[in-house]
Amino acid sequence: MKEVGTLELKTGLAEMLKGGVIMDVVTPEQAKIAEDAGAAAVMALERVPADIRRQGGVARMSPPELIFGIKEAVTIPVMAKVRIGHFVEAQILEAIGIDFIDESEVLTPADEANHIWKHDFKTPFVCGATSLAEALRRIGEGAALIRTKGEAGTGNVVEAVRHMRQINTEIAHLRSLDHGSMMTTAKNMGAPVSLVKLVAEQGKLPVPNFAAGGVATPADAALMMQLGAESVFVGSGIFKSGDPAKRAQAIVKATTHYKDPRMVMEASRNLGEAMVGINISDIPEGELLAGRGW
């Protein structure tokens, strides 16, 4: 009997994106540039995070016509973002036939208490996390892929590094505990005990773990890969730089060959201007995106 929409199939697509780069694109033309540069998938959105940050206002799911345009422009998988908790935007994306839905803190949250119950969908979801507990809550709701939140639209990788290290440290700690303490640990973490136990046994998340939020250079991408990310999302870093096509390909190169400093060095040469970065301490607390969701 054919089974569809299972977690196995959802994480299966995430497996096929490993070692690749997923690029934020706003138009079909950008999607084409991303595909030509070697992107493994593109993320369709209305405005890149740097513009959302600058322009303010409520950031929502992209209009369907824009997503259809991007789907027509490329053959690689197309992802799109919905607001945290906005399950109707997710229903619309599923009706479009999008390949992956990002329930994203980059958009303005639609529900401050609940994330989407993602088991209700056949389409896989990716969600951001700043800690292991948060990652496991999202997986508990049905996420098939976790990414660091980082701090999107800053061109500053520091928060993505913090979140990746946080998750790695917590996993290492879990491994050191005996199984008798799993329920208390789960209670203190605020995460499902079955998943806590699974991570303690396997030493890794039960779904792939990618990096996102502030990646702007090939070196940033290779850094996240060396810290344990299995792929990299790049948002504003490409189309807010001086030469997007060249930078996109360079980030792809550094992601494939992240263990090879010579290749990362070659990829880093003559890229023109990187996007202007923002120091996290210069951002007013209320404007930090990583604090959205729980």
């Binding site: 697509l13 070692g19 036939g97 999008i98 090879d260």
Partner: protein, 196 residues
């Protein structure tokens, strides 16, 4: 030593299965990684992305030579696309080792991806679980291709000489029988021949 093309995609999953079978392997990202390999796996992922990366890393010609050298190659999903002679109507480039036509994303987008079990009589396997993820479909097959597996009306797995291609993902399951049989039927006989 088996090579797994590791530009992007399901390379890790294949590695895990080979680990379970105790078969040594190496990830292939540059031409020099192909040296001394007895067989090669082209994993799933995005065939267009992989082709772009092969160009960027000067890997297309070395891989084409590897396939032509007579050593066994297994392609799953995107790997099967790379091995087929005709891709879509688009004329997407490929190694063309198998004289067949293949259609990309033939079953639709991720929403239509599915799991199914199937038999591979030529390898004495029954009920092998497999995932079809944005899977391709063989559209034209000449008579001299060995059919390995079928699903409803479609041929989903084929072999011809040293080449094996399936449109699904046997590597995403805990089941190691597919890879063990591939090694037993396709790799070991040729390796033994080379050694003697």
């Amino acid at each position: 030593m088996i090579g797994i093309l590791a530009l992007q995609g399901g390379f890790e999953a294949h590695g895990k299965i080979l680990d379970k079978l105790g078969l040594p392997y190496r990830q292939v990202r540059l031409a020099r990684d192909l040296e001394g390999l007895e067989a090669l796996i082209l994993p799933g992922g995005e065939s267009t992305t992989m082709l772009k990366l092969m160009d960027i890393y000067d890997l297309f010609e070395p891989l084409a030579r590897f396939g032509a050298s007579g050593k066994p190659v297994l392609g799953t999903c995107a790997g099967a696309i790379l091995m087929s002679r005709h891709v879509d109507q688009s004329g997407q480039r490929s190694f063309g080792w198998l004289p067949v036509s293949i259609e990309r994303n033939a079953y639709g987008s991720q929403r239509e991806s599915f799991r199914e079990v199937q038999d591979i009589p030529a390898w004495n396997l029954t009920d092998v679980p497999a995932l079809y993820i944005r899977a391709p479909r063989f559209t034209e097959l000449p008579a001299d291709v060995t059919v390995l597996s079928r699903l409803d009306g479609d041929v989903t797995g084929i072999s011809r000489h040293q080449f094996t291609a399936v449109t699904y993902h046997p590597e995403l399951m805990d089941d190691v029988r597919f890879h063990r049989a591939w090694y037993q039927y396709q790799v070991a006989p040729l390796s033994a021949g080379a050694a003697s």
